[in-house]
């Protein structure tokens, strides 16, 4: 018996920045980016883990692989006991059990907040109309956007839109929520409201894997922080490790830079 929710085993993923002619030439010319190099990670029920690291290091690609929105070139993804990378697996069913929150939100532009949250409940879970509406409203209440239920994404602020994005991800009670830099595309004064929402989810024991550089938030909610650079996990440990003395030089340098930046921002406010 295991309480493993999702697991990545030796996941490897490359992507091309230019049209391929042949593989080796691409690697040499750096047109083939190794975004994820044999990364393994286990998430158990109730875990809150946070991935951070320089931009362009492959964090987002890794997260997309875990949700099978990108297919890994090599390695396996397990959702519970089910291997998602085997051929013939119903990925749609699997994705219904994984909530995903995007950096750039990607709400459905032609639907209201309610419509955005309802869609999966109606079309994926096939709930009857009233029940879907009730659960969608519950989710929207939970993220505190009841005032924009009937608004379209273009009529919301970035913070409201991202909270609707979170509601869309949690409404169907997924096993885990993957969040890809949920606050980094928002204006600084709007990140607070999204962070508050995430804090609420954390309190309820939601299983989450978050890519984020919100360090105060990380320190508060994350049980484990994962420093990711150049396609691999460089160092893993509790927040106290990273905030005091990371073992690796790369993590040390990165922490210094990011903490300086955070303090600078706080002084400016």
């Amino acid at each position: 018996m295991t309480d493993l929710v999702i697991e990545a085993r030796n996941v490897y993923k490359t992507y091309r920045t230019k049209k391929p002619k042949n593989e080796e030439a691409c690697v040499e010319a750096k047109h083939l980016v190794e975004a994820v190099k044999n990364v393994s990670l286990q998430i158990r029920k109730g875990d809150i883990k946070l991935i951070f690291g320089p931009s362009g290091s492959g964090k987002s690609t890794f997260l997309r692989c875990m949700a099978m929105l990108d297919r890994p070139d090599k390695g396996d993804i397990y959702l519970g006991d089910e291997c998602l990378t085997k051929p013939g697996v119903d990925l749609n069913k699997a994705r219904a059990r994984i909530g995903f929150v995007f950096q750039h939100i990607y709400l459905f532009r032609h639907l209201t907040a309610l419509g955005n949250v309802e869609l999966a409940l109606r079309q994926v879970l096939k709930l009857p109309k009233e029940e879907a509406r009730k659960r969608a409203l519950d989710a929207l209440t939970e993220v505190k956007v009841t005032d924009c239920i009937n608004k379209y994404p273009s009529q919301m602020s970035g913070g409201q839109a991202q909270r609707v994005g979170i509601a869309r991800a949690i409404a169907r009670n997924p096993d885990i929520i993957l969040l890809d830099e949920p606050t980094s595309a928002l204006d600084p004064e709007l990140t607070g409201e999204v962070i508050d929402t995430l804090r609420d989810l954390a309190k309820e024991g939601t299983t989450m894997l978050i890519v984020s550089h919100e360090m105060p938030f990380a320190r508060e909610v994350a049980e484990e922080m994962i420093f990711y650079d150049e396609g691999t996990i460089v160092e893993t440990g509790p927040p106290s490790l990273f905030f005091n003395a990371p073992n690796t030089d790369r993590a040390k340098k990165f922490m210094t830079r990011i903490i300086n930046r955070t303090t600078r921002e706080e002084m400016n406010v």
Binding site: A67, R95, F102, F108, R109, L119
Partner: protein, 218 residues
């Protein structure tokens, strides 16, 4: 026969001109929309779509109509001996090729991220296309669709070559053949009618599309 009487006779052709253009537009939509998605999301068979577009954009409608009506009609009287069917069918095939290109551009405009977001909530690809992409794609396409519909109204005049269909141009040709043979008035009046039919629809489509686009922030 004075111009007013001629105009009344031309007006009698309007219902047929409209029904040919509306039906061929719907046929074109039913062909073009799936083709555009296949071209983008099923790359393995994309070449079939390419071939289809090349053929039906390349061969003149008038040639296709003559080929099908006079070539296939005698051998397969149902449905090819029916002038209305042949006209709407041929224009629909051509419009399918045009609309496929319009929708393809629109799919790129709407963006693949919407599709990914749809899949992220557990929707199968074709379901996401239906519930998420198509409503936005149609909105995005309205300017192109307006001019495509205008083309269909105009091209319905080709139906005059297969005869027996009393749309505007066939009516005009008949007026011309009535002695003493007024060759100017019927065509000038016909031209005015075509403009009157195409302009409002393109205008209305554009306005509707702009309103929806604003709402979506597209």
């Amino acid at each position: 026969m004075d111009a007013w009487q001629q105009f009344i006779i031309l007006l009698e052709g309007v219902p047929l001109t409209l029904s040919i253009s509306i039906i061929s537009f719907i046929v074109g939509l039913a062909i073009g929309l799936p083709l555009a998605f296949i071209r983008i999301y099923e790359k393995d068979v994309g070449f079939v779509v390419d071939a289809y577009e090349k053929i039906f954009r390349g061969v003149p409608e008038i040639v296709l109509m003559l080929m099908i009506y006079f070539g296939l009609g005698p051998f397969f009287p149902i449905p090819f001996n029916n002038a209305f069917f042949v006209a709407a069918f041929v224009l629909g095939l051509r419009s399918g090729a045009n609309q496929s290109q319009i929708y393809r551009g629109a799919i790129h405009g709407v963006g693949n991220e919407q599709m990914i977001a749809g899949q992220s909530i557990g929707l199968p690809k074709w379901n996401a296309a239906w519930h998420i992409m198509i409503p936005q794609v149609i909105t995005y396409s309205t300017p192109g669709l307006g001019s495509e519909y205008a083309l269909l109204i105009k091209d319905s005049a080709y139906a005059a070559v297969i005869g027996g269909l009393h749309e505007i141009m066939t009516q005009a040709l008949q007026l011309k053949s009535i002695p003493p043979g007024d060759v100017i008035t019927p065509f000038v009046l016909g031209a005015i009618l075509y403009v009157a039919l195409t302009f409002p629809i393109a205008f209305w489509l554009d306005r509707w599309g702009n309103k929806r686009k604003k709402k979506m922030g597209l």
